[in-house]
C-alpha cells in the first residue's frame, strides 16, 4: 500500500550542535488523510515540518514526500506541496491581492491567470473586501487566512500547516477550522502541527504526540484516549438517597470501584468494555427501578491523555515509555 502514502519519514533525526531537536521520528501519512503532530512548544514539531518541506536537511533519516526524496529532489517536492509556516509569511507591505499574485507567478502561472487565481482565492477566503489593503493592517485571523490561501495557489497535493491557529482568538480559530474542513472535503493530504488537542481531535485522522523530539504516542483520538485507561461511565441519580445503590450497580458491572460525588448526585467508574458495560448498567438501573437524570459514557479528554503521556516522560526513559504503548 506504499503507493497511497503521501508523506513518509523514517528515523528522522535533527541535531543543532549538541541540541537534539528530533530524536528519530517516523511518520507515515496516507494520501487524502490528515495527520496532526501534537505537542508543546519546543517538542520538535516545526523542525519536523521544515524537514518534510525541504527547508531543512535531516541529520539522519530519510523522507519521501509526494513520491520524491526531500534531500535529492527538493524542487519536485516544492512543486507539489503548500506550506503555511508558523508565523504567517505573507508580505506585510504588499496587498492581499499582490501577495497571492506574486506567489502564483512564482509557481509559473502566467500573469493574467495569476491575478484571476488571486481574486478567486481572496473571494473563497472571505478576503475580497481587503484585497487591495496592505497586509500590514490585516487582523491576525485575516493574515492566517491569506497565508492559507497562499499555500493553495498552486493546488498542492499536500499541505503542511505549522500551528495554523496559534495566537488566534476563538472566533478566528473556528473560522479557520471551517476553511480547513472544506479542504479536507476535496481530498487534500494535510500535515498540521498544533498545541491544541481540540484542534487535533476535530481535524485529524491520525495524531502523533511528540515531546522532546520523540513520538510518545500515535493513533487516532479514540485510541489515544483508551491508552489512559478507557472510558468512564457516569450516572447522575434523581434521588440522592439512592446514589449508593447506583454506585453499587456500577461497581458490579464494571468490576471497578465507582467514585461517588454526593453534591452532584453522581457516580463514575472506568470501563474497559465501554458501550457493552453501559448497556448492562442501563439494564440494571431499569430493573432496580432507579430513576436517573443522566447516564453517559465519557471519554477522558485529550488533555488528560496528553498530561498522562508527557507527565510520565519526565520520569521515565523514552524507550521504556514507547514500549509500554506497544
Amino acid at each position: 500500500m506504499s503507493a497511497s502514502i503521501a508523506v513518509e519519514g523514517r528515523g528522522l533525526v535533527k541535531r543543532f550542535g549538541d541540541k537534539v531537536a528530533l530524536a528519530g521520528v517516523d511518520i507515515s501519512v496516507p494520501t487524502g488523510t490528515v495527520t496532526a503532530v501534537l505537542g508543546p512548544n519546543g517538542a520538535g514539531k516545526t523542525t519536523l515540518v521544515r524537514i518534510l518541506t525541504a527547508l531543512s536537511h535531516p541529520t539522519e533519516g530519510r523522507a519521501v514526500v509526494a513520491g520524491f526524496d526531500v534531500a535529492t529532489q527538493p524542487d519536485e517536492v516544492r512543486r507539489r506541496i503548500g506550506l503555511a509556516a508558523q508565523d504567517a509569511t505573507v508580505d506585510p507591505l504588499l496587498t492581499g491581492h499582490e501577495n497571492l499574485t506574486m506567489i502564483a507567478e512564482l509557481h509559473q502561472l502566467p500573469r493574467r491567470t495569476a491575478r484571476e487565481r488571486a481574486t478567486a482565492l481572496l473571494e473563497q477566503f472571505s478576503l475580497a473586501d481587503a484585497a487591495d489593503t496592505v497586509v500590514g493592517s490585516y487582523s491576525g485571523g485575516m493574515r492566517r487566512r491569506l497565508d492559507l490561501a497562499a499555500t493553495l495557489v498552486a493546488d498542492p497535493e499536500i499541505l503542511f500547516l505549522d500551528e495554523p491557529t496559534t495566537g488566534l482568538d476563538p472566533r478566528a480559530r473556528a473560522e479557520l477550522w471551517e476553511v480547513l474542513e472544506t479542504l479536507l472535503g476535496r481530498g487534500v493530504t494535510i500535515v498540521l502541527t498544533t498545541q491544541y488537542l481540540e484542534e487535533a481531535e476535530r481535524l485529524a485522522d491520525d495524531i502523533l504526540v511528540v515531546d522532546h523530539g520523540s513520538v510518545i504516542a500515535r493513533g487516532d483520538a479514540r485510541s489515544l484516549k483508551r491508552q489512559v485507561g478507557g472510558d468512564n461511565i457516569g450516572v447522575v441519580v434523581s434521588d440522592p438517597a439512592r446514589l449508593d445503590e447506583a454506585a453499587r450497580i456500577l461497581t458490579d458491572v464494571t468490576g471497578t470501584e465507582a467514585v461517588v460525588d454526593r453534591p452532584i448526585r453522581s457516580a463514575v467508574a472506568p470501563s474497559e468494555r465501554g458501550v457493552v458495560d453501559l448497556a448492562s448498567v442501563a439494564g440494571a438501573l431499569t430493573d432496580a427501578d432507579l430513576p436517573v437524570e443522566d447516564l453517559s459514557l465519557r471519554q477522558p479528554t485529550l488533555d488528560e491523555v496528553f498530561l498522562t503521556l508527557t507527565g510520565s516522560i519526565a520520569h521515565d526513559d523514552t524507550d521504556d515509555l514507547q514500549g509500554s504503548h506497544r
Partner: protein
C-alpha cells in the same frame, strides 16, 4: 477497533523509491523579475527606505561642495577659482561614494527579509536557484537610478557640467550602473553571511565607509602621505571617481609619469574590478544564502 490501536513498526515497509520527475525549464529571469517587482513595491510603500538614495546624496553634494569647496586645491588647476574647480572635481567622487553605499541598502533588504521569515515562503516555492537574490539585485539596480539622477540634477544646480561628448557621458553612466551592480552583490554577500540588520550596519560602517574615504573621492590622492596614498591609488573607488571625472571632462589630477597603472588607466582598471567582484561575490552570496536557509 483493532485498526485504531497504536502502530507497531516491527516490520517497516521500504520507503517508496523516489520518482524521477521531469525538470521543467527554470525561469531565473522571470522569477527574479517577479521578486524584483516586490522590492519596488516595498520602496513605493515605504519611501523612507529610499532616504539613502535620495536625501543623503543630495545632502552630501551640497555639504561637501560648500563646506570643503574653498579649502581643497586640485593639482593642475592653480589659478582657476578653487571652489568652482572643486565642485566639478567633487561630483565624480560623491557619485562613486553613493554607488559604494548601494551595497549597504542591498545587504539591509536581504537581512530584513531573513529576519521576518519572508524567506521561508520563497524557499518553499519551486523557484530558480538564485532568483531571490537576483530579484534583490534587479530591484536595487533600478533603485540606484534614483540617486544617479538626483545627483546629476543637484550637481547641475551647483555648477557641475558634462564637458565631454555624448559617447563619453553615456559610458560614464554605464560605468556607474555596472559598478552599482557589483556593489549590490557585495551587499548580498554581506547580507547572506551576516543575516541580521544590526550586524550589517556594524560591518558596513567598519568596512564600506572607510573604503570611500581612502580614495580620491573628496581629496586628490596626490596630497596624501605615503602608504595611504598607495592604498588610495589602487582603491577602485579612486579609479571610479577618476573615471567619471575623465569621462565627463571634469577637473582631475593630471596623470604623472610615475603614477601606477590604475591611475593611468582608471576606466579599464575599474572594469576589471567590476568583473572580478561580480564573478566572486555573486556565486558566494547565492551559496551562502542557500546554505544559511537550509540549516
Amino acid at each position: 477497533m483493532t485498526s485504531t490501536t497504536i502502530e507497531t513498526d516491527a516490520e517497516p515497509a521500504p520507503l517508496e523509491p523516489a520518482r524521477t520527475g521531469p525538470h521543467a525549464p527554470r525561469g531565473l529571469v522571470h522569477d527574479a523579475w517577479v521578486l524584483a517587482r516586490r522590492g519596488l513595491i516595498h520602496m513605493k510603500r515605504e519611501p523612507e527606505q529610499l532616504s539613502d538614495a535620495t536625501i543623503q546624496p543630495i545632502m552630501f553634494v551640497v555639504l561637501f561642495a560648500y563646506v570643503f569647496g574653498g579649502a581643497i586645491q586640485v593639482p593642475g588647476y592653480e589659478g582657476v577659482p578653487t571652489a568652482r574647480v572643486y565642485r566639478e572635481f567633487l561630483m565624480g567622487g560623491i557619485i562613486a561614494q553613493t554607488l559604494v553605499f548601494t551595497a549597504f541598502g542591498a545587504a539591509m533588504s536581504l537581512a530584513n527579509d531573513q529576519k521576518n521569515q519572508a524567506i521561508d515562503r520563497f524557499r518553499s516555492l519551486p523557484i530558480a536557484r538564485g532568483a531571490v537574490l537576483g530579484g534583490y539585485a534587479v530591484a536595487n539596480i533600478l533603485k540606484t537610478m534614483l540617486p544617479i539622477a538626483l545627483m546629476s540634477i543637484t550637481g547641475y544646480l551647483i555648477g557641475w557640467r558634462i564637458r565631454s561628448g555624448l559617447a563619453d557621458a553615456l559610458l560614464a553612466y554605464g560605468l556607474m550602473i555596472a559598478f552599482a551592480f557589483a556593489m549590490i552583490w557585495v551587499g548580498m554577500l554581506l547580507g547572506a553571511v551576516v543575516g541580521s540588520p544590526e550586524g550589517v550596519t556594524g560591518l558596513a560602517f567598519a568596512t564600506i565607509f572607510p573604503l570611500t574615504f581612502l580614495a580620491s573621492t573628496f581629496v586628490p590622492t596626490a596630497q596624501m602621505p605615503g602608504v595611504v596614498r598607495t592604498i588610495a591609488e589602487w582603491n577602485p573607488v579612486t579609479t571610479l571617481s577618476d573615471s567619471l571625472r575623465e569621462l565627463f571632462g571634469n577637473p582631475n589630477t593630471p596623470v604623472q609619469p610615475g603614477d601606477p597603472w590604475s591611475i593611468a588607466h582608471p576606466v579599464a582598471y575599474t572594469c576589471i574590478w567590476i568583473v572580478v567582484i561580480v564573478a566572486v561575490c555573486a556565486p558566494l552570496a547565492i551559496r551562502a544564502y542557500n546554505r544559511k536557509n537550509v540549516a
